[in-house]
């Protein structure tokens, strides 16, 4: 029985790490994979989702509604940022890094000045359950389900919907998509908005589990970047497998030596992967397929 408890504990830790990696990374992966833009303001879209959803929850609305509102707010903010800042810089990818980094600092400091050093959270819902000697948060199991649901929804969106087909056409040969009547500017705008909305979703989903501070985006940013670097440009061939691999490494080291070891192990894994697979897991798969 003890053995089964230990397995459950490991699976729970793995699921928790996997969910956090997937949900933090998929917005960044969509924007990087579809548009080639490295969005250093990703953490601030997460911040936006967290603050908006918590504010809506404080107004007394149910948590799912609050999370949806946070995601929507981040998505709209993303479309505005795309229009005003990113669009003029499409042919200058290095400049988009600097520009989005600037946005990140402005938002972090602006939030600090306007809303103060911290915002009261809404508390983790759904309570906990006990397996063996330990109790586990039920809400974190919901988050694992949400991570899987998000991946499934993205897969359906990019393969089965008209938007998905036009978005993939635009990323593969942009000038031909444009010449075939596809409004590629609109596709870029919606794609960036989708990436920002996914970031907002991550913020909204994790807001009840953490303290809300203006720099909270940074906590997500490291894990998101690590996942996208290991995974490469493709969400399904890259982000998801990378989250599995990194989640396993993190869960193993965490249950063996504690949280710090998990974090360090993950970063070492990234350095190794960059050496062996410079274009990530999906780069390797796509190369072999071609």
């Amino acid at each position: 029985m003890e053995f089964l408890y230990a397995i459950f504990s490991f699976l729970y830790q793995f699921g928790d790490a996997f969910a956090f990696l997937v949900l933090s990374a998929c917005g960044l992966a969509v924007i990087f994979g579809m548009m080639g833009v490295i969005n250093l303001a990703h953490g601030e879209f997460i911040l936006c989702g967290a603050y908006v959803s918590t504010s809506v929850a404080h107004m007394g609305l149910p948590l799912p509604v609050a999370i949806a509102a946070g995601s929507l707010a981040a998505g709209i903010a993303g479309m505005i940022v795309e229009l005003v800042v990113i669009r003029p810089l499409y042919k200058r990818p290095l400049d988009t890094i600097v520009a989005t980094w600037g946005i990140s600092m402005i938002v972090t400091q602006g939030t600090l000045i306007v809303l103060g050093t911290t915002m009261a959270g809404s508390g983790t819902p759904l309570g906990s359950f006990v397996v063996g000697d330990y109790s586990y948060s039920t809400y974190r199991v919901v988050l694992m389900g949400m991570a899987l649901a998000t991946l499934a929804a993205l897969w359906l969106m990019f393969t089965k919907t008209r938007f998905g087909i036009l978005a993939r056409a635009t990323i593969q040969v942009p000038h031909v998509a444009e010449a075939l009547g596809v409004n590629t500017n609109l596709v870029y705008s919606l794609t960036f908005g989708l990436g920002a909305a996914l970031a907002g979703l991550a913020g909204g989903l994790y807001a009840p589990t953490m303290t809300l501070v203006p720099t909270m985006g940074a906590a997500f940013m490291v894990e998101a970047f690590v996942t996208v670097v290991v995974g490469g440009a493709d969400i399904f061939l890259g982000t998801a497998p990378a989250a599995v691999v990194l989640g396993l490494i993190k869960a193993t080291l965490t249950s063996w030596q504690g949280q710090l070891a998990g974090q360090i192990g993950m970063l070492i894994a990234v350095i190794i992967v960059i050496r062996i697979l410079p274009r990530g897991i999906s780069g390797k798969i796509l190369k072999e397929r071609a």
Binding site: L166, Q172, V173, V176, A177, A179, L180, G181, N183, A290
Partner: protein, 237 residues
């Protein structure tokens, strides 16, 4: 034949960045015609096609489709006026399936036309066989058929074909020429194509514009096209 003018190009100047290529192109194509633009390498034929669809800007002059000026509008809006552009080198979407490639072409019409996929499969049966194959893994001739099928999905009133024979086996070139003529006869679609392959020019063209140094320098009608030596002379001046 007194058909209405479909495309009227007047004094068109354009090129890449600061480098002018088109130096005052004048020509008109009538509804339902198949017109060829011929000339040596580097005289500006592909630049002309890319400027017509709007992938390159007009520096001076004008492009009018059924009397409506196109110069100020972006490429996707021009396409939606019924222009089907088949680029040089095909440029299919390599990591998408054949059917997905075809569906993108519906954007020209802005809607899905019932039964159109079947019609396209009827013209190009290979596309039905390869429906779920990734386009990037097909041969040049198959990709060319896909690129033409892709614009047919959007029911264009004019098709711009940029060097359809380039890098394709001779028997497929003949097939494509035959299908384009059949399409033109059945649907009345206007075709403007850039070509250097004499057989394809003679199989398809009803009228032929000769381009040199960024200008149209001669116009050949159907009778002149039967003179093989004369065409060859224009291709190798």
């Amino acid at each position: 034949m007194h058909r209405d003018v479909l495309l009227d190009v007047i004094g068109l100047h354009g090129g890449y960045g600061g480098k002018p290529v088109l130096q005052g192109v004048d020509f008109r194509v009538r509804e339902g015609e198949i017109a060829a633009v011929i000339g040596r390498n580097g005289v500006g034929k592909s630049t002309l096609m890319r400027t017509l669809i709007g992938l390159l800007p007009t520096a001076r002059g004008s492009i009018n489709l059924r009397g409506r000026p196109l110069d100020a509008i972006s490429a996707h809006k021009r396409a939606r006026h019924g222009i089907g552009y088949v680029p040089q080198g095909r440029d299919v979407f390599p990591r998408m399936t054949v059917v997905e490639n075809l569906l993108v072409g519906e954007s020209i019409a802005g809607r899905s036309i019932p039964g159109r996929l079947e019609e396209v499969f009827g013209y190009f049966p290979i596309l039905r066989e390869r429906a779920d194959q990734r386009a990037g893994t097909m041969s040049g001739g198959q990709q060319q058929q896909l690129a033409i099928g892709r614009v047919l999905m959007g029911d264009p009133s004019v098709i711009l074909l940029d060097e359809p024979s380039e890098g394709i086996q001779p028997n497929i070139v003949q097939d494509i020429a035959r299908i384009m003529v059949e399409l033109n006869r059945k649907t009345g679609v206007t075709v403007i194509f850039v070509e250097q392959n004499i057989d394809m020019i003679r199989a398809m063209a009803q009228r032929c514009y000769v381009m040199d140094k960024g200008r149209i320098v001669a116009e050949l009608d159907r009778d002149a096209l039967s003179d093989r030596a004369r065409i060859r002379q224009y291709l190798s001046v």
